[in-house]
Amino acid sequence: MRIRKKSLFYLLAILSSLIAAGVTSIDTYISIKYKINPWTLCLAIFIAGMIITLLLCIFLSIPIGKKAIGTRIDPSFYRIRLLRKEELPYHILAGIGNAVATIAYFFIISIYKDPSATISFFQVVILYLLLTESIAEKNAPTLAEVESSVIVTFGAIMASFSLQGEINFLGLLIVFAILNPAWVLFSIYQRRLKLMKINGRHNDAINIRFWNLLFTTLFTSLLVYFIDAKRFFEVAVVMKYWQIFFLSMGVTFFSYILYIRALGLGKASVTQAVKSSTIIFSIPFSILLSKFVHISLYESPQQLVIKTMGIILVVMGVISFALTEVKAYIFMKASTGYSIDELMRKIWKIKGITSVATVAGKYDIIAKARIRTLGKGYERIIRELEGIKGIERFEWQSILKEWEEV
């Protein structure tokens, strides 16, 4: 299918948020209705998730015609397969990240009566991801990205903040020092797994989700066992509610497939920022949920005002992400006497360059750039290119619209 990559990215991230909002409502229903200890619930949900995910993966591996059913949700999918050696370290790190983030989340839930104020600071993870990308990745964030990320982060905090919730130093310390860094580990390594090529094609989200859940369940089991062994063994008892756990984790599966696919198309920070729209989608689900269990949609008129302002900021931030992107092709002619291979490596080092190719024809090198503004294109790319000896001349072709095979 040839469509605009940017449209697909936002479609996947927003659909994932919509499904995640539905899952949040199911989880809220479970915790209110069944009153299960948070540690037991956490482990029981993962174990149920493992079973339903395996069943879904087997179902999605069934071929219809020449292709498996799963290709309809991820075209890179072939069938459920064993883990590759090169994937193992990434899966272990992503699994540890997911398990630690989950444990930190449930720890906060288990010690506070109303942890919503503390948990809302999880949204700062967008800024953590932005910082990690600027240190560890070639594509450093631009000012426009930093601005949009801050808008979304603050908006998301405001939209999920509770004026009556408990907030204290220990809770914030857990969020800032454990929950958020663990989630960064999880997101970054899931993205790397998605970008990895297996048998010449991009890794698929379905296998990534299955193996990640397996490692996460394993690490979570170990952590819960050491934290509270009694709760660990209670899992067998609460598994009587397996139908609702299957429903929650079955729906979560699809949310994650779309999220992992979006991670393969865009930056982890931008994907996370767009995913903050879960807060907006949770409103209709909360209204629906209030028909079944007792939950208040808002605490006070003041909180409603803050919530509305936060939602507006999230929407504005996401729109600003989508609108501030410039892509261009740069055609270059090299001077004689310079190694093309060396030139390629120098061009590749420039921040914002997403591909560089040596070609046979009128030009010698064709590079592709992705920046947030044209001004950055000049500062970051043209000035750098001018400094490379061996580039005789270059032509800048700004991309106005693009369709890509996905």
């Binding site: 560089v356 190719a357 040596t358 064709i366 095979e405």
Partner: protein, 79 residues
């Protein structure tokens, strides 16, 4: 696998129609409308030079295409 950039120049007023026809072709990784010396940049991915020739032939046959310039990729680094 052979990859190539096909740089396309169109006659004024034909861009939209050319793009519509172009989007129907196979063996194409991406199609970009650009502002510069060219109008459209296509990245093609084919199994042989014969297939590349067939693709450029199909592009030439589209009404509104003025000129094409094919740059075969020898080596590529991408994210």
């Amino acid at each position: 696998m052979i990859k190539a950039y096909i740089l396309i120049l169109t006659y004024v007023g034909n861009l939209k129609a050319v793009l519509e026809e172009m989007r129907k072709l196979s063996n194409i990784e991406s199609i970009a409308v650009v502002a510069g010396d060219y109008d459209i940049i296509v990245k093609a991915s084919v199994n042989s030079l014969e297939e590349l020739m067939e693709l450029t032939d199909k592009i030439h046959a589209i009404k509104g295409v003025k000129r094409t310039n094919t740059q075969v990729i020898e080596k590529e680094i991408e994210t």
